[in-house]
């Protein structure tokens, strides 16, 4: 186990449309369904679903990498980490004004008394917009 403290994990980040990153790193933090999960070298085998939030990869040999992710899966086996992401955005890809508009629209929809509003969908949209704005700033 001592060895594993010094070694790095092989991390692969992939989305359906493309491979986002393949790096060696020492620390990975992902948004799980019920809160953030930190993965360090030597982690036990794990499979989990991801939620909405910021994914961070850090290591001595790489620049810290951040992605805003929304859903997906994480698999850890023997320091081989695969992250399957449904959607991933970098800071540069986020359109802040658009996210702010989406936030406004979603909160308007939630506060309105119109019965045709899909509350669950609006809540998701609100959470997404919040996460985008927080991530971009």
């Amino acid at each position: 186990m001592n060895d594993s403290m010094n070694t790095e994990m092989n991390i692969e980040l992939v989305s359906p449309a493309k491979s986002l990153a393949k790096v060696k790193a020492t620390k990975l933090s992902v948004p799980g369904r019920d809160g953030y999960i930190g993965i360090l070298p030597g982690h036990a085998a794990l499979v989990t679903e991801l939620g909405l939030g910021e994914l961070t990869v850090e290591g001595p040999s790489i620049q810290p990498t951040h992605f805003l992710v929304n859903g997906g899966y994480l698999e850890v086996v023997n320091d081989q980490v695969i992250v399957l992401l449904d959607a991933a955005e970098t800071k540069a890809e986020i359109d802040l004004p658009r996210a702010e508009k989406a936030l406004q629209r979603a909160s308007e929809r939630l506060t309105s008394k119109d019965p045709s509003v899909d509350v669950v969908r609006a809540q998701f949209a609100l959470a997404r917009a919040h996460a985008r704005i927080k991530f971009a700033k």
């Binding site: 692969e12 992939v14 989305s15 359906p16 449309a17 493309k18 491979s19 799980g32 369904r33 019920d34 999960i37 036990a44 085998a45 794990l46 499979v47 989990t48 679903e49 899966y73 698999e75 086996v77 023997n78 695969i82 399957l84 449904d86």
Partner: protein, 289 residues
């Protein structure tokens, strides 16, 4: 024999066609390289996802009651999602797919099973109408820059008719992309999900901690697995379309070139014959004097 003027006009007309086919070939080549890139880029996710789903399915002890795995011994109703292009001029790509669809339908109706269609692509819709296949869903432009969200929208509809029990099975019929020259029609079962096989040594690494629990993770994975399978079929369809069009337009351009050569020869012969005739007339006219 056609007159000089006629031949000349035909040469020009073939030349114009050649210009068009050549331009289409170049456009297709550009589109093809983009589509091919997309297929390649989607591969790592597909491979990784296959492995995880395979492991998960092998690790969950009781797979019974999971909707997307509902297996019917003798299916009575099958839905076939037929993926085609929207436009023609792509060789025998669509024809081959439709042949496969007809064969598949015949095989299954022989066994007393009803096959309905989901036409994904304008040509598929036209084809189903022509031969009288029943369609429950028609979509156009599915191969034009396929993306994950459009695949998800279609997949949701296919999953819905399966889980509601309307159909016992859903299959995909699509052109599998092998190379620019070869695209094979492929029938692939989409639902119930066929979980990928895993190798024996992987069974040993199955002691996973699974959050929140294996069954619910597997269920949500299967849904995405269906989307991803469809997404990849669409990407392959797109690459096939442009590849096939590129090849078809390349051979059309070559044919036009050959045709122009023949016509030019004919034209020159006719011209020579005319000159000779004139000379003979002049000479014999001079002799008469």
């Amino acid at each position: 024999m056609a007159s000089l003027k006629d031949t000349k006009r035909r040469i020009q007309s073939v030349r114009n066609t050649q210009k068009i086919t050549h331009a289409m070939k170049l456009v297709s080549a550009a589109k093809f390289s983009r589509a091919n890139q997309a297929v390649l880029a989607a591969r790592p996710y597909g491979i990784a996802f296959d492995r995880i789903v395979g492991r998960m399915a092998a690790g969950v002890e009781n797979l019974e009651g999971i909707e997307l795995l509902r297996f019917t011994e003798q299916p009575k109703k099958i839905l076939a999602a037929l993926i085609s292009t929207d436009r023609g001029l792509c060789g025998s790509l669509n024809t081959n797919i439709f042949k496969a669809a007809v064969r598949y339908t015949r095989e299954n109706t022989d066994q007393g099973c009803e096959v309905h269609f989901a036409a994904l692509g304008k040509r598929a819709a036209q084809f189903c109408r022509k031969v009288g296949f029943k369609t429950i869903l028609e979509r156009e432009k599915v191969l034009e820059r396929p993306n994950y969200n459009s695949a998800k929208a279609i997949s949701d509809e296919l999953v819905a008719v399966f889980t509601s029990g309307q159909y016992d099975s859903v299959v995909l019929i699509f052109p599998e992309f092998k190379s620019v020259m070869t695209q094979n029609p492929r029938v692939k079962q989409l639902l119930p999900v066929v979980t990928p096989e895993i190798s024996d040594d992987e069974h040993e690494t199955l002691n996973f901690i699974i959050e929140p629990n294996a069954r619910s993770v597997l269920e949500s994975m299967l849904r995405k697995y269906v989307i991803n399978t469809l997404f990849r079929a669409l990407l392959e369809g797109g690459a096939s379309e442009h590849g096939a069009r590129m090849t078809a337009m390349d051979s059309a351009t070559k044919n036009a070139k050959e045709y122009i050569r023949k016509l030019t020869l004919q034209y020159n012969r006719a011209r020579q014959a005319a000159i000779t005739k004139e000379l003979i007339e002049i000479v014999s006219g001079a002799e008469a004097v």
